[in-house]
């Protein structure tokens, strides 16, 4: 790659960042300019990005293919339900608490599912989620199989304030978890994760504590999903086991990540946009809607295995969130100048 291309790419990157910051400012002000239905759509967009980021973190970077991540959405939803209805805690405050509760549950769940490898791991995660669903079916105190409404917990909050705060939290989760994933990837943990994804034996012999690394990612993912779960059910106003622990949540995460680009920070955002577009286009097709969504996913998997953003990034060598650690030509030179002279074994 020539230096010129590099400069153009970084100029474009800066442009995208400025545009994104401007868009974010406009979105933060949305409660003053948008109507309720627009607010709900943007909030939904944001929380879908958030949950897709969490699945992407786990599968795209950690190599942990789970189909049971709905368990943490459900735990988040039920934490909100129990704390706001029974303990009288502010529903908004319940959201971070739900994240923590979900992360705490992730530790014993990991102890079970991490004993399983590959496809068995995937099936195990699903079984665990279903065990939660079936168990909650049998707890009448929190609504049993038909669930419970949250409306009474929200009645005391004025309408506009409720809508706006819910919206801001959704936006915060979408943006925050995206940035969070990006920061993790740039950190030590991110390096360990990608190593573990690519080869467990090599990671171990290079000093990476594989079990601990996987556990950290799993818990991080649960933290994000727990918060998102509570937020989601704050917008839906009713929590039931069948909905909260539904595999549909994970299917949606997988669809968005695969279409958008697995293993890229940009992928979940692109994937959510595609999902919204397709859903709007196919609104009149009834059940065909799912068939077409599935077909799109299959075509993307066959034709562009790294998803839409993976294809764009590969084709134009462009990243909004560059996660690769590169050695640059100039940093190399200064590096050499500062380094004590090393014997050059290979120069004759």
């Amino acid at each position: 790659m020539s230096l010129l291309e590099l400069e153009n790419a970084s100029r474009l990157q800066h442009g995208v960042w400025i545009a994104a910051a401007a868009l974010l400012a406009v979105l933060i002000l949305a409660p003053w300019w948008a109507d309720d239905s627009d607010l709900r759509s943007i909030a939904e967009f944001a929380y879908l990005v958030a949950i897709a980021q969490m699945w992407n973190l786990l599968a795209g970077y950690g190599g942990l293919i789970s189909v049971g991540q709905q368990v943490f959405i459900g735990i988040g939803g039920y934490t909100l339900l129990i704390l706001s209805l029974d303990a009288g805690i502010s529903p908004f405050l319940c959201i971070p608490v739900a994240g923590v509760v979900s992360a705490l549950f992730a530790v014993p769940i990991a102890a079970v599912v991490f004993r399983l490898q590959g496809p068995y791991f995937a099936i195990g995660t699903w079984v665990v989620a279903d065990v939660f669903r079936l168990a909650l079916d049998n707890v009448p105190a929190i609504g049993g199989g038909s669930g419970k409404s949250l409306t009474s917990a929200l009645m005391s909050i004025p309408g506009w304030q409720r809508e706006a705060t819910t919206y801001w939290i959704a936006l915060g989760l979408g943006v925050g978890l995206t940035i969070g994933v990006y920061l993790i990837l740039r950190s030590r943990l991110g390096l360990a994760m990608t190593a573990v994804r690519d080869s467990v034996p090599a990671s171990e012999s290079l000093g990476v504590r594989v079990g601990r690394t996987k556990l950290l990612i799993y818990v991080a993912s649960a933290l994000g999903l727990g918060m998102a779960g509570a937020l989601i059910y704050l917008t839906k106003l009713r929590v039931s086991p069948d909905a909260a622990f539904s595999m549909d949540w994970t299917v949606l995460m997988i669809f968005i990540v695969v279409i958008g680009g697995i293993g890229t920070v940009e992928g979940p955002i692109v994937g959510t946009a595609v999902f919204f577009f397709l859903r709007a286009m196919l609104a009149d097709f009834g059940p065909w809607y799912l068939v077409i969504l599935g077909s799109v996913a299959v075509v993307v998997m066959l034709k562009a295995r790294r998803g839409i953003w993976g294809w764009v990034a590969g084709r134009f060598n462009f990243h909004v969130f560059p996660t690769r650690r590169r050695i640059r030509v100039n940093s190399l030179r200064s590096g050499f100048a500062e380094m004590p002279p090393s014997p050059r074994y290979l120069t004759e």
Binding site: L191, D198, S199, A202, E204, S205, L206, R209, I327, Y345
Partner: protein, 241 residues
Amino acid sequence: MPTILTVEQVCKQFGSVIVADDINLTVAEGEAVGIIGPNGAGKTTLFNMIAGSIQPTSGRIIFGYRNITKLRPPDRCRAGIGRSHQIPRPFSGISVYENTLVGATFGGGREGVDAKRRCIDILDRLGLLAKANQLAGSLGLLDRKRLELARALATEPRLLLLDEIAGGLTDEEVHQLIRIVTAIRATGVAILWIEHIVHALISVVDRLIAMHVGRLLAEGAPAAVMANAEVQEVYLGIEEP
């Protein structure tokens, strides 16, 4: 010279197959020891037990003054045992530089600019610097083997386990490799090196160990071991001319 590695009465069985049968050996600090033996002799299994990826059925492994028999592989790496895998296992989705950085960060405990410099220095020594930003998955066999070595070096080992790093290379490449290993030795790192290409081994090591079906057949000065009657018997027709 103080001993850095002691393998004490180590046995390993896979089901009914015995792949290590009462193995005893020591390596002194800074010493280079070669291991030869026909395919299936149990050489890689011995490395796996020293590096911790396989638990011996019985026996002890002592590194420095520490019994490491129960330690997990990452902790053995952090303690100072570096290894290259016989079949290269690059992290194919990240760059050559990032591959090395994994070793420097976790095995070597270095951070930031310090880790970066260390990696650049090693990649330069191994002739991989020009490919530093390339995805490791795109490397050819020679470079993959070099990367195995580079990553292991980045962990700053006191004992380096090299498993057939010269296999499949041309004569010229083998010579390059000999120069590299000799230079690593000169920095005081102890080396255990498994290799079928005996002349490459002999040009670097002080001592040679011959293995056959899980047992140590002979041990000592390279020339003496190669002249040993039992070694000649199992080795005839296997050694390259």
